[in-house]
Assembly symmetry: C2
Homo-oligomer: 326 residues x 2
C-alpha cells in the first residue's frame, strides 16, 4: 500500500487547492481496502461543507462522435471565456486497460491536460459500475472542495453508465453525429430523453450542411417528447471543435438552463433528490453485496437461476427460497 | 378470511379453464396473508409448466387517450378475428378506489366483459407498485395455464408502472392522441422509447387528418431512435375504436413482430431475461423490505435522510451508518 497521510493533511491540502493531495485523496476514494474506505469517508465528511458549488455537466456520445476533442475544446472555452476552474472525470466501467479509461490516453486532451485551471482524472480501473459511480460521485465532492467550479463527467453512450451520470449531474449533454441514422444504433435507447441538450459535432467542411439538417430533425423530434419536470425544453445545436464554433452556444444553453432551474427551484430540488437517491442506492448495493456474498446463496444461485430462466420455477418462489438461506 | 380450497382444487380448476376457480386463485395471489402466499406459490408451482403460451401485450397511454374503449374494440377483434382467448389485466398502483382500478368500472368494457372468451381482472387494490406488479405477473401465469392465449396488461402512462409492464410483456403498445404536443406532457419521459408500436387513437371524423399527420411525425421521430435489440423498427398507425378501423393493422403488426423475434431468437431470449429479472427484483424487494422494517433503521432513517438531503452527510457515509444497524 502506498503511503497515507493524516486526514487533516488531505483535508487541508484539498481546501487549499493542492492538486497532488487532491489526486491522492481520489486514489483513496477509489481504493477497495477497508482502511482506505474509512479514511475516504473521514476526508469526505470534512470537505463536504465546502462542496456543491460547481455546475456539474454530464457528457455522453458513442465512440467516433469526437468526445475527447469536443471536451478539450469546450473545456478550454469554459476556462478561458467563462473563467471557470474545470475538473474532467470519466465513467467508463467497460474499460479494461490497466489504470486506464476513455481519458487514460492523456495525449487525446493535450492542451487541456497541461492547463493549470483544468484537472483531468480517468475512470478508476478494475471496478464494477457501482464502484465506478460511487468513486466518481465522491470525487466530484473532493474536486468541488478543491475549488473546481465546473465539473464535466464523461461517459460512453452505450451502457448503463449514462443513467448513473444523469443522476449525478445538473445538466446532461448528448453529442451526436450528423448522418443517416445508422450511427445512432450504438446509442442506448432512453438516452435521448435524458438529454438537456444535443450537440451535433463535427459541423465543419462538407459535413456542415448535414449537421444543420440533423439539428432541425432532432429539434423536431424533441418537440414530440414529454416536457421535462424542470420546465426546460431541450436545445439542439451544432458545433465544431476543429473550428471552435458553436461552443459559445452550448455554454450559453447551460447558463440559461441554470438560470431557469435555479429560479424555479428545480435545481435545488434535483440536487436534494440526487443526494437521497445515492443514499438509497448505496443501501441497496450494500444489502445485495452481503446477500450474494453469502456462502449458501453462492452455492445455490446458479442452479436456481437456471430453473427460473427456463420456466421450471417461478421467479418469486426462487427468490423466496434464496432469501430463506441467509 | 374467505373459504380456501385445496391446492389441487385450484390447480385442476385452472387447468380445466374454470373461471370461478381462476378468479379465486388470483385473489389468493393478491392476498397479503402469509398462509395465502404459501398457497399461492403452491398453485403457481403446479400450473407453471402449463403457462408461457400466450402472447403478452402491454398497453399504455395517458387518461383521455381512450384506453378502455380501445381495449374493448381491440380485444373483441383479437377474439373474433384472431380466434384468441383473451385475458385483460390492469396495473394501476395509483388507484385509490376500493377494489377498484382503471378496469374496476366494468361498464367501460361492457361487451368485452360479457364475452365468454374474455376474462377481465382489475388491478389489485391497496398494494404498492411492487405488490401490484408481483400479483400481475403471477396472474399472467394463472391465466395462461387456464388457456388464455392472449394477455393484455393495461397501465396508465404516467408513473413507474410502464417499466414494470414492459418487463413482463412481449410487445409494448403506446396509445397516443393526435394534437399539438401538449397532450404528451402527461406521458413520462422514456416511455416512447419502450414502445414497439404507437397507435394514434380517435382517428375519425374531424380528427382523422390530424391523426394522419401525427402518425407521420411520430414515424419520423422513431427513425431517429436507436435500433432496438430485437431488430424491430417500431411502427406507428392510426385507429378508431368508434369506427373499428386500424385494429387489423395493429394486430398484424404484433403478428409480424412475433414472427421476426421468434425467428431471430429474441422472443425466447427476452422471456428468459424477464424471468431472471423478476427473480433478482424479488430478491431486492425482499432484502429492502426486511431492512427498512428493522426497528433501528426505522428509528433513525428520517433524521439521516434529512442530513443527506441537505448535504450535511454524504450519501455513502449515511448508507454505511444505516447498514451497520442491522
Amino acid at each position: 500500500m502506498a503511503k497515507r497521510f493524516s486526514t487533516d493533511t488531505y483535508v487541508n491540502g484539498i481546501l487549499s487547492g493542492d492538486r497532488v493531495l487532491l489526486s491522492r485523496a481520489i486514489t483513496i476514494v477509489e481504493s477497495k481496502l477497508p482502511q482506505d474506505q474509512d479514511l475516504a469517508q473521514e476526508i469526505i465528511a470534512n470537505v463536504l461543507p465546502h462542496s456543491g458549488n460547481a455546475v456539474r455537466i454530464g457528457i455522453t456520445g458513442v465512440p467516433g462522435v469526437g468526445k475527447s476533442t469536443f471536451i478539450e475544446a469546450f473545456g478550454n472555452y469554459i476556462i478561458k471565456q467563462a473563467g471557470k476552474k474545470l475538473a474532467v472525470l470519466a465513467i467508463d466501467p467497460t474499460s479494461q486497460r490497466t489504470g486506464g479509461s476513455i481519458l487514460g490516453d492523456k495525449t487525446r486532451m493535450e492542451s487541456l491536460s497541461v492547463n493549470p485551471n483544468a484537472f483531468i482524472r480517468p475512470s478508476p480501473a478494475g471496478k464494477s459500475l457501482g464502484g465506478v459511480t460511487k468513486a466518481t460521485r465522491e470525487t466530484i465532492i473532493l474536486c468541488e472542495a478543491a475549488g473546481f467550479d465546473a465539473i464535466i463527467v464523461e461517459t460512453v453512450g452505450v451502457g448503463q453508465s449514462e443513467t448513473a451520470v444523469h443522476a449525478m449531474v445538473d445538466f446532461f449533454l448528448l453529442l451526436m453525429l450528423a448522418g443517416a441514422g445508422d450511427e445512432l444504433q450504438g446509442i442506448k435507447r432512453g438516452i435521448m430523453e435524458m438529454a438537456d441538450a444535443i450537440a451535433i459535432t463535427k459541423a465543419d467542411g462538407t459535413n456542415a450542411d448535414k449537421a444543420k439538417l440533423a439539428r432541425a430533425e432532432y429539434q423536431n423530434a424533441l418537440h414530440l417528447y414529454p416536457m421535462s419536470a424542470s420546465g426546460w425544453l431541450p436545445k439542439v445545436s451544432t458545433c465544431s471543435a476543429l473550428q471552435q464554433t458553436g461552443l459559445d452556444t452550448i455554454w450559453q444553453t447551460i447558463v440559461e438552463y441554470l438560470k431557469l432551474t435555479q429560479k424555479n427551484g428545480y435545481f435545488e430540488k434535483k440536487r436534494r433528490e440526487q443526494n437521497l437517491l445515492w443514499m438509497y442506492e448505496a443501501i441497496r448495493e450494500g444489502l445485495e453485496e452481503n446477500f450474494y456474498a453469502h456462502q449458501q446463496v453462492k452455492a445455490q444461485l446458479a442452479t436456481i437461476a437456471e430453473q427460473v430462466k427456463h420456466g421450471q420455477k417461478s421467479a418469486f418462489a426462487a427468490a423466496h427460497e434464496l432469501l430463506k438461506l441467509v
